[in-house]
């Protein structure tokens, strides 16, 4: 039961905007088990978002490998990595998560449409998930008509709707108050238990991180410390 879902080896990322070398990741080594709920912490600018982007395949590392479920995603071409992402990964961003010209239901249904669901079945599915998130009455609203917490829940709904193997959350509770943040963490936990999905969550909050199974600390682009919160 404790097979490794994600294996990161010697991961480097150098940003090179006009020659100003920014060595954001300097050799990350990390494994994540299937069904694990992992928190990543670290000071601002240490490379958390960068790591998540690489994991999600929306950016390419400078060096190193990322093996997810046996596939080295750093070797896939753009179309394949896109399909991989579409089918296996759910993404929740740090800020502005939703396409604000789409109503909530379409934001959520979009990944299913990409997978080839019909409009009706995708919408039905989206509505089911939104209802589970307590957003049954917000289906046809536009993102700018939602509160921050609601918007984040819609983003989570979109991330989980394809039942991905891994859900990546970049400060999913960033701007929210403690109560709402805790609600969202409970939601994550429920998903994690129900669907055996792996969650990797970046956060600045110790309290949030402690809801996870393990905390990985990153400093200056390397893993500096790991804490096990709860064992298997």
């Amino acid at each position: 039961m404790s097979e490794n879902l994600v294996i990161i080896k010697n991961l480097h990322k150098i940003y090179d905007p006009e020659g100003a070398n920014v060595h954001a990741l300097r050799g990350i080594n990390l494994t994540v088990k299937k069904g694990e709920m992992l928190a990543i912490m670290g000071p601002s600018g240490c490379g958390k978002t960068t790591l998540l982007n690489l994991l999600g395949g929306i950016d390419k590392p400078t060096k190193g490998t990322i093996i997810i479920d046996g596939v080295d995603i750093t070797r896939l071409n753009d179309d394949d990595v896109t399909n991989f992402r579409r089918d296996r990964i759910g993404y929740i961003f740090q800020l502005f998560n939703l396409l604000d010209f789409l109503p909530v239901v379409e934001n959520v249904a979009l990944p299913l449409l990409l997978q080839g669901y019909t409009i009706n079945s995708a919408y039905e599915e989206a509505k089911v998930v939104l209802r589970q998130m307590g957003l049954g009455d917000r289906v046809y609203h536009y993102p700018n008509q939602l509160s921050g917490g609601q918007a984040q829940r819609v983003a989570i709904a979109r991330a989980i709707i394809t039942n991905p193997a891994i859900i990546l959350g970049d400060e999913p509770t960033g701007d929210l108050d403690t109560k709402t943040s805790m609600d969202i963490m409970n939601l994550f936990r429920r998903i994690n238990i129900q669907n055996k999905q792996t969650l990797i969550i970046v956060t600045h909050s110790r309290a949030i991180a402690e809801q996870c199974d393990r905390i990985v600390h990153i400093e200056n682009g390397v893993v500096s410390k790991e804490e096990i919160i709860r064992g298997d």
């Binding site: 896109t82 396409l99 789409l102 080839g116 536009y142």
Partner: protein
């Protein structure tokens, strides 16, 4: 102020692509105005130059009722106006056919200039004739001999050289007052170089000495002391010393008064006509081309409306772009006025750049347009490009006006930015009711409609919106305006109580219904001829604005429909969601974008459809109105049927000829009877008709040239050409019956035997010179005489291209006119065949007829007749007409297509903008699982949709309008598929590339980068 400048310069640097687009759009608008200006000015100058050149060095002409003006008058002028004129001379000018013996070439309508070779005070002061070797020609050497001089242009056409033989007919006047043509043979004494006075009538002249002419045409010496015209010159070289038009006109008046006095002519209607001919021609050309210019400018304005939509669109985007900056500026203490100034200043800069661009664009396009128009109207020669101060002013003023006009709304929008909301990044998408301003504007509109109602009740005699109220141009015009204002006002007020969409739908559907009704039915009610452009323009604007707004308001519904359609296919499902939602999220932008296409294509499709329908669809119509006559033959010399039976010859040429009818025509002079009593007589073509021409032995009409009655009793409720054909025939036959009845008519159109009764005439419709009483004055042997106009003829082939009006007179009056002696010798034949009008066999027959008449070995020639026959298939008249008409419509489309360029730029800008501002969203889409292709396709599809909405609206509108015109003109409706496919392809490719390029650009950005973009 300092920071305003720095704000502007910084913005310029950042927003270069947008500014470039604005400058190009303004530049295109200015280009249009400037090119119209240049093209029309150049044409005007060109036509004036060539037509005044063909006057030689003459400025004033003197003639009278009888066509014979005495030498005494010439002497009187020379004595009394010696210090004011350069030269005066008397001439006779004949229009005949010239046949070149050696080459067999024949030229019709050549002016034979009969001049006094020894006239030191006249002819010789106007300059000498030189031959092509540059030697001065001693004209006295051709005196009393059968010698003529021919200018180079005619010599080239006839291919004659010095010493060649030419033949022609010269009318000989007999003592008993009758005239008969005599066949004369001349030797070409020399070829004249085309310069100075030899440029008269474009050099298509033959110069004959007066003494030779006298011996041939007037051996009895009855008219040796008479001319047909006295010509006065005020400058011996108009190129170097031009004559002021007003001076020439004043002098002409002075001469006239003095002559009336001298001749003791105290009648109301002096027989003498003194005309400052050069000045009059120049002014009428200017006037004529000015209305052409106004028309082109009207079309240019339409394109500029499209341009203004584009620029406003871009300006709106710059406001959105700078919302945050403006918010910060405002929070730092910038006043609203200063924000406005930023935008206006920017607009003025852009306008100036646009002006410069437009000026040079206009130079190029103007030259091209001038050439093109020259070509369509077969003006000939190369237009001289005229650029004056006005052109430069036009470019600057129009550039800045367009820029400022488009800058105001965004500026106001920027001024009223809510600082708090902007800085918090709140965007609102919800639909609101129209603001209070809309409500007030609604009331203003209602007030305006009341004003229009009052105006309307005056022009329509109180018949408002009833059938009678749509009879006249003004009534229709104000009815449409009144309805527009009323519907707009009511709609805007209503919008306060219902949703905005509902109100806008109501207004726009109202506009569409009224304009479509007008195009399909209303236009048919019009029972007044005249320039109906203004009604057309209003209806057009109603139709375009209605269709654009109704699509705009219901864009969501359309979007949903497209989304559902695309959802049918797995591959396009997600793309459909993104592109349609993205389109409807910026509604104003979307509407502005497709309306550019809608406007331009509405007119283009209209012009194209109307063009092919006229070209292909009016054979039957033309056959009907020409009385099913297939060929018209015009002989320049009447032929005595006892010597040569011309009709028999035609029957013999082709067994398919079913009928040949013939009559006589001759040149006459006419003028209107309206208050402009002083207007000169103008030349007209008089046709003698008796009923045996029109009717067969059984008394049935052999052919029906359809007339449009002007007698009150015969006038129908409807314009005659909107009636079914058999009714038109009946009405027309009644008119011909009256015309042939031998009766005279009162001014009111009643049959009368009274002394005040007037003889009837029928006019051709195209150039009417009748006045509101439907009477006309013709010059007769017995002085000016009034005639009652019974009807006009439309679509009568020859009248379409005859420079002068054609007037039908009953045969019993021919003795009143010159040129009808030996009336039984016809010179005008109508030929009907079993062939359809456009059958090539008709043309072959026409060619055979010409050959039988004109060739050197024809029977006619053997009998001593020299006949210049012109056999024209009626279809050719029609083709000629169609060529010019369709050429003009093509030109219009080309001209309007510059607007398509604006549309294409619009698509590009919007597409660039869409992807630029959605970088983050696109990054997000990529993160969700959209691949590059899907991102690009979404961008393309969004732009595609906008382009196609415009295209579809344009096609539908264009077809509706053209269809109504074909219905009105009773021609078959043809859809110009080739053109429509062309517009389709243009829209397709421009939308494709407009979407593709920015789409690819943004799809290349790694999603992680795109996600960092914050706008």
């Amino acid at each position: 102020m300092g920071y305003i400048i720095s704000f502007v310069t910084k913005s310029v640097r950042r927003r270069l692509p947008k500014y470039v687009s604005i400058i190009i759009a303004i530049g295109l608008g200015v280009t249009l105005f400037v090119s119209v200006d240049i093209a029309v000015n150049s044409l005007t100058e060109g036509i004036i130059t060539s037509s005044s050149q063909s006057l030689g060095e003459f400025d004033i002409s003197i003639s009278n009722n009888t066509g014979k003006i005495s030498n005494n008058v010439l002497n009187y002028i020379r004595e009394n106006f010696n210090d004011k004129i350069v030269a005066a001379t008397g001439r006779i000018t004949l229009s005949t056919t010239i046949f070149a013996n050696r080459t067999g070439q024949l030229e019709k309508d050549i002016d034979v200039i009969v001049f006094n070779t020894t006239d030191k005070d006249g002819e010789q002061k106007l300059g000498y004739l030189k031959n092509i070797d540059g030697r001065k020609i001693n004209t006295t050497e051709i005196r009393d001999k059968k010698y003529v001089l021919i200018p180079e242009p005619l010599a080239e056409k006839l291919e004659v050289k010095k010493g060649d033989i030419i033949e022609t007919n010269i009318p000989r006047e007999y003592k008993n007052g009758t005239t008969l043509f005599v066949h004369v043979v001349f030797t070409v004494y020399d070829i004249i170089s085309f310069e100075g006075k030899a440029t008269e009538s474009q050099g298509l002249t033959v110069w004959l000495s007066r003494s030779t002419y006298n011996a041939i045409a007037d051996p009895d010496g009855v008219y040796w002391n008479y001319f047909d015209t006295i010509w006065i010159s005020l400058s011996s070289n108009h190129n170097i010393n031009p004559v002021d038009n007003n001076y020439a006109k004043k002098l002409a008046q002075e001469i006239k008064n003095s002559l009336i006095n001298y001749l003791n002519d105290d009648s109301d209607d002096p027989s003498i006509t003194v005309m400052a001919i050069r000045a009059e021609i120049e002014e009428s050309i200017r006037e004529g081309l000015n209305s052409f210019k106004i028309f082109l400018n009207m079309m240019a304005t339409l394109i500029i409306i499209a341009g203004i939509l584009l620029i406003s669109n871009i300006q709106m985007i710059s406001v959105e772009d700078r919302e945050i900056q403006i918010g910060i500026l405002r929070s730092l203490g910038a006043k609203k006025g200063e924000i406005i100034r930023i935008f206006i200043l920017e607009s003025v800069f852009l306008g100036l750049f646009g002006s410069v661009l437009g000026f040079f664009g206009g130079l190029v396009l103007g030259k091209y347009l001038a050439l093109y128009i020259n070509n369509i109207f077969q003006i000939g020669g190369t237009p001289i490009i005229v650029i004056n101060k006005g052109t430069i002013i036009t470019s600057i003023v129009s550039g800045i006006l367009i820029a400022v006009a488009t800058g105001i709304y965004p500026a106001l929008k920027a001024r009223s930015i809510n600082i708090v909301e902007v800085l918090r990044g709140v965007k609102s998408y919800k639909e609101e009711k129209l603001s209070k301003k809309g409500f007030y504007f609604g009331w203003v509109s209602i007030l305006f409609s009341i004003f229009l109602y009052l105006k309307l009740s005056r022009v329509s005699d109180g018949f408002i919106l009833t059938k009678e109220g749509w009879r006249t141009i003004d009534a229709q015009f104000y009815s449409l305006l009144f309805l527009s204002a009323l519907m707009l006002g009511l709609g805007l007020i209503l919008s306060q109580f219902t949703s905005r969409n509902f109100a806008l739908n109501l207004i726009s559907l109202g506009y569409i219904s009224v304009s479509v009704w007008w195009f399909r039915n209303g236009i048919q009610l019009l029972n007044e001829s005249g320039n109906a452009d203004k009604i057309f323009y209003v209806a057009l604007l109603m139709l375009i604005s209605g269709t654009v707004v109704v699509v705009g308001v219901n864009l969501e519904i359309l979007g949903a429909f497209l989304r559902k359609t695309l959802a049918l296919f797995e591959k396009t499902r997600a793309i459909g969601v993104i592109s349609t939602r993205s389109m409807t999220s910026k509604k104003l932008r979307a509407v502005l974008t497709f309306s550019i296409f809608a406007i331009i294509l509405s007119i283009n499709v209209f012009a194209a459809t109307w063009g092919v329908s006229v070209e292909k669809g009016s054979v039957d119509l033309w056959a009907f109105y020409s009385g099913r006559v297939d060929i018209i033959v015009d002989l320049d010399v009447p032929v005595n049927p006892a010597i040569y039976n011309y009709s028999q010859m035609i029957y013999r040429l082709d067994p398919h000829v079913t009928d040949v009818a013939c009559t006589r025509h001759a040149t006459g002079y006419a003028k209107t009877t309206s208050e402009t009593l002083g207007t000169p007589f103008i030349p007209v073509d008089l046709y003698a008709w008796n009923s045996s021409i029109m009717k067969n032995q059984k008394g049935e009409y052999r052919f029906d040239i359809i007339t449009n009655p002007v007698l009150k009793k015969q006038t129908t409720e409807q314009a005659i050409d909107t009636l079914p054909e058999n009714e038109q025939l009946n009405i027309s036959r009644n008119i011909w019956d009256l015309f042939f009845s031998g009766q005279n008519f009162t001014v009111d159109g009643e049959i009368s035997n009274g002394t005040d009764a007037l003889p009837p005439v029928i006019l051709t419709g195209r150039r009417t010179i009748t006045d509101e009483n439907n009477t006309i004055i013709l010059m007769t042997k017995y002085g000016a005489m009034k005639f009652r106009v019974l009807a006009s003829v439309f679509n009568y082939g020859p009248s379409a291209f005859s420079f002068f009006p054609i007037i039908f007179i009953p045969e019993r009056y021919v003795t009143f006119f010159e040129g009808f002696d030996y009336i039984n010798y016809p010179n005008y034949y109508f030929i009907m065949t079993e062939y359809p009008l456009n059958d090539p066999a008709v043309r072959t027959l026409a060619q055979k007829i010409e050959k039988e008449s004109n060739s050197a070995d024809s029977d006619l020639r053997k009998l001593g007749y020299l006949v210049g026959a012109l056999a024209t298939p009626v279809w050719d008249y029609y083709q000629e007409f169609v060529k010019i008409y369709v050429g003009f419509l093509d030109f219009l489309q080309l001209f309007l297509s510059t607007g398509l360029l604006i549309g294409i730029i619009g698509l590009m800008v919007i597409s660039l903008r869409n992807v630029a501002e959605r970088k983050r969203e696109i990054g997000m889409q990529r993160a969700i699982g959209f691949n590059r292709k899907q991102v690009v396709l979404s961008a393309i599809f969004e732009i595609f949709t906008l382009g196609f909405i415009g295209l579809i609206i344009g096609i539908i509108n264009g077809l509706i309008m053209a269809n109504s015109f074909t219905k009105l003109s009773k021609i078959d409706f043809y859809i110009p598929w080739a053109r429509i496919w062309l517009y389709f392809a243009v829209t397709f490719f421009s939308a494709f590339f407009a979407g593709l390029i920015p789409g690819i650009k943004v799809a290349r950005i790694p999603p992680s980068e795109a996600l960092r973009y914050t706008g």
